[in-house]
Amino acid sequence: MEKVLNTNIKNVFRLLTENVVTPKAVIETALSRVKQFENHNAFIAVTESQAKRGAERSQRRYDANQSLSELDGLPIVVKDNFCTKEVATTCASKMLENFRPTYNATVVERLESAGAVLLGKSNMDQFAMGSGTVDSIYGPSRNIWGYQDECNFHIAGGSSGGSSIAVATGMCYGAIGSDTGGSTRNPASYCGVVGLKPTYGLVSRWGLIPLVNSMDVPGVLARTVDDCVSILNAIAGFDPKDSTSLTKPYRKIRLPDGKNMSLKGLKVGVPVEYFSELLSPEVHEVWNEVANLLEAEGAEVRQVSMPNTEHSIVCYSILNQCEVASNMARYDGVEFGYRSDDNESTEKLFASSRSFGFNEVVRNRILTGNYFLLTRNYEKYFNKALKVRRLISNDFHDVWENVQILLTPTTLTTAPLYQDFIQKTNRDQCALQDYCTQPANMAGVPAVSIPIKLSSEGLPISVQLIGRNLSEPMLLAVAKYIEHVVSFPHFVNKLT
């Protein structure tokens, strides 16, 4: 039975349809897998009883030969910044510790109507502000790779670290993360799973508690590209509740078999600006290996230049803090969220609720963002950042004239040790961690991180593919091809 968790969605669906396994058994095994890896702190809440009820409903559908989709009866994990009806949605914060939404995010709604069973809400950095899944009021998540004990471990990456661990350990086949500057791809890279940041607007943001509205996208984490596609197919497409969602009808992606694909003639760009001096030699080597591999398989690989990449991080930092300052203004303790006892005056109630409800990272970003937005600073910071964002976005437009796809590292190094990671401030870490992932969010283009091999220390190394808007079918096909060639040694393989 344990083996069932380590396989892929197509296989499980077949087994379920043929009645070899039952949804109840799958969910119960998944729940025991959750217990097995408790030490890694992947979850903020495990929705055990709900999951069991969901499995029973799914069971009845399979009994009646009326399964809803290939996800029917399969466990799914959702990051704790997506609203789940009647299930606490905390954003790993004191502010929303007791927040129980009365509605489902569109992503959650669509997964539920595909029959998927919510296993739990995963750990993250508070309000997704971070890149390590360490700034959570529920404590840090701990990577499975190179794990020694509760004090000596590598970070999972973030901010969707919990979802990545859940996928890597086989608690589920796929999980939902969010990606604003790399929050899905970064932990995917460190945990050795596939992490997709779809085109901005392809997947609805309704019910995703925002970080930076103009860059946030729901992300998909899975062990295989095919599983990633199955989940994307269930959640993508126009949503009238999100005015920024794309109205063009979504056509479900069907990928050919890895064996039957050819990369002949594919134009691949390697942007020189991604050679950071902080890039570790091992990651650099893997990047080269993949470039060589693609070339050997018939692709045309060439160097390209995206000169504004270096400004991306500072530009992002300004836009992020401005939107954070604005988005966080609603947390005043009146309608929802943490409310302090200090109700001497409305102003005092606001001030104390906010100062206790948010951690230092959130408070700092609010303060800085508000400073940037002051009338006297608006031109100098916010507006300038918008212009730089346009330049970065134009770099992508220009590069698509010559290549179809970009190949870059996802992260500069393998997963850092927790003790090393926390030496730097959240701000410095974000600047470092988001270096390769962040520009795609500026331009809204899709990007996917795929694990390639293990480092000498036994930690996953991944690469990132970036494509033009709505090029997911091609992007994921190439990812699948690479996946097929490199056969990454997944963590779950060790569990059989």
Partner: protein, 519 residues
């Protein structure tokens, strides 16, 4: 240089006449900002109902409560209402406009910001011509003009209810759609401001984009007031917030102008501040206002794409300004011109008729199928009907009986069947619900005018006989007594005598009497 009158614009003429009639030392400058709630089914960015006087917190969607994860979806009906209003006010509609967030903390604004249009409003550069005429203040009407700087869409806030030891919040109004109309400071005083508001209300009610019910807060007026010496740059202004009635607008501005002049004449300085109007005490009071130095930290609203308004013959999707333009009904100024040109009605009567939609409806309905003098009908409505309505504490819109009856009454007066006092009695009966036709009412009550000369002559003689003392005085040269005789005749006839005829007859009889005396 000699300036001939014809060279002066209306405005200059007004200005000069003002200098002449009041203190020549000061000139006042007034600008208005209006918040008009759009009369839509649902709110600007959510599906919650946009209804007044619903149970507290019953029209609140997740978005209106700023629930995390929710997003705004623009209500197309509100955009259409905004465009219709903009076009009716001669604005240039922007093909692309944007939404912005305006940040400030307030308990009844759940998201901590208001979504408004700061960078590029829905429409700009409108203008409005209107007539200034307050009977009792102005002898005759004059035309004034105000430029509309911009019209933007924005969200309303909720309401805070303050108890002595706690505050409660009602979010029914939070997120309700507003049009903010910002006028240039083109007005000279409170009467002009009130006239502008009246005209605006009139237009918005005709195009049905706002109920304009000031008592429900559906239409709120802020006024910017400053005074200066003629020729000087603009003085420091104060802002009077949330004035709740048209007469309040006139009163508040008048008070504020005089207050500022008093301050300046005492060598004081006018402080830039927000004031409120107290309609009971008839004065403006400085509000405790910590928000003056507030920096709203505007930011583009990232969850809403730019708002595109289609112009020209492109069909399908979005709001089309040209299509909306065709929906504009006859506007008040056109109605006034039509009344003046088609019916030859006096200008001040046109103004009065058009300022009261209920009265105008009666006027137009009463004409149908009758060859009436329109001016006489207008006179009757403005005099007898208004007087009777006023006595009964009713409005023209409360008239429920068949408007054709009004035409009939005017015809009865014109035919001499009844006199004016009798017409008012008929009106009273009709307003009280008497279902009979006016002629029927007249006959049932015996209110017909006495026009028979023999009968009237008899009445006159009787009055003179009963009033020997007065007659002696009259014959002795005191012609004033004539009016007393007329009054007596009228009373004796139970107010039914045709007094025009009596005037002639009485003079005739008196003439004979005085001749006899001389003889």
């Amino acid at each position: 240089m000699r300036v001939t009158r014809s060279l002066l614009s209306d405005k200059n003429r007004r200005y000069l006449s003002q200098l002449a009639k009041s203190s020549p030392k000061w000139q006042s400058v007034v600008g208005l900002e209006v918040h008009a709630q759009i009369a839509s089914e649902s709110k600007l960015f959510s599906g919650a109902a946009n209804k007044f006087s619903s149970p507290i917190n019953s029209n609140v969607s997740l978005f209106d409560a700023a629930t995390p994860g929710t997003l705004p979806v623009l209500n197309q009906r509100c955009v259409e209402a905004g465009v219709l209003t903009a076009l009716s006010l001669n604005c240039r509609v922007n093909p692309v406009s944007y939404f912005d967030r305006k940040h400030y903390f307030y308990a009844d604004m759940p998201s901590g910001y208001q979504i408004t249009q700061q960078r590029a409003p829905l429409a700009e550069n409108g203008h409005l011509e209107f007539h200034v005429f307050t009977p009792g203040v102005h002898k005759s009407p004059y035309k004034a003009h105000a430029k509309l700087k911009q019209l933007q869409l924005e969200q309303d806030s909720g309401k805070s209810l303050h108890d002595f030891d706690r505050s409660l919040v009602d979010l029914n109004r939070a997120g309700a759609p507003l049009m903010e109309l910002v006028f240039e400071p083109d007005l000279a005083d409170g009467e002009e401001a009130a006239a502008l508001i009246k005209e605006l209300v009139n237009i918005l009610q005709r195009i049905q984009t706002c109920s304009c019910k000031m008592e429900e807060g559906a239409f709120r007026v802020d006024a910017n007031v400053s005074v200066r010496r003629p020729g000087d740059p603009l003085g420091t202004r104060t802002e009077i917030k949330n004035i709740g009635s048209v007469r309040g607008v006139a009163g508040a501005i008048k008070y504020e102008i005089q207050r500022q002049i008093k301050v300046l004449e005492a060598n004081g300085t006018v402080v830039n501040e927000t004031r409120s109007w107290n309609p009971e005490k008839k004065e403006t009071i400085a509000m405790r206002d910590k928000e003056i130095q507030q920096d709203y930290r505007y930011m583009p609203e990232p969850n809403l794409p730019p708002l595109h308004i289609v112009m020209g013959p492109i069909r399908g999707g979005g709001v089309n300004a040209d299509e909306i333009k065709e929906r504009i009904p006859e506007l008040p100024e056109q109605t006034r011109q039509r009344l003046e040109q088609t019916f030859g009605i006096r200008q001040e009567h046109c103004i009065i008729l058009v300022n009261d939609a209920g009265l105008l409806r009666l006027f137009e309905a009463a004409q149908i199928g009758r060859a009436l003098s329109a001016q006489k009908l207008a006179n009757f409505l403005i005099n007898e009907l208004y007087k009777t309505l006023h006595e009964m504490d009713l409005e023209a819109s409360d008239v429920k009986f068949n408007p054709d009856y009004l035409g009939e009454i005017v015809e009865l007066i014109e035919a001499g069947t009844i006199n004016r006092p009798a017409s008012e009695m008929v009106l009273r009966q009709l307003l009280e619900g008497n279902p009979d036709r006016p002629l029927q009412i007249v006959e049932n009550n015996g209110w017909k005018q006495i026009t028979d000369e023999a009968e009237l002559r008899l009445l006159c003689r009787q009055v003179l006989q009963e009033n020997e003392k007065g007659l002696k005085q009259y014959l002795g040269g005191k012609s004033k007594v004539f009016r007393a005789f007329m009054g007596a005749v009228y009373r004796k006839s139970n107010e039914r005598a045709d007094m025009k005829k009596c005037d002639t007859l009485l003079k005739e009889i008196l003439g004979e009497l005085s001749k006899r005396k001389v003889d």
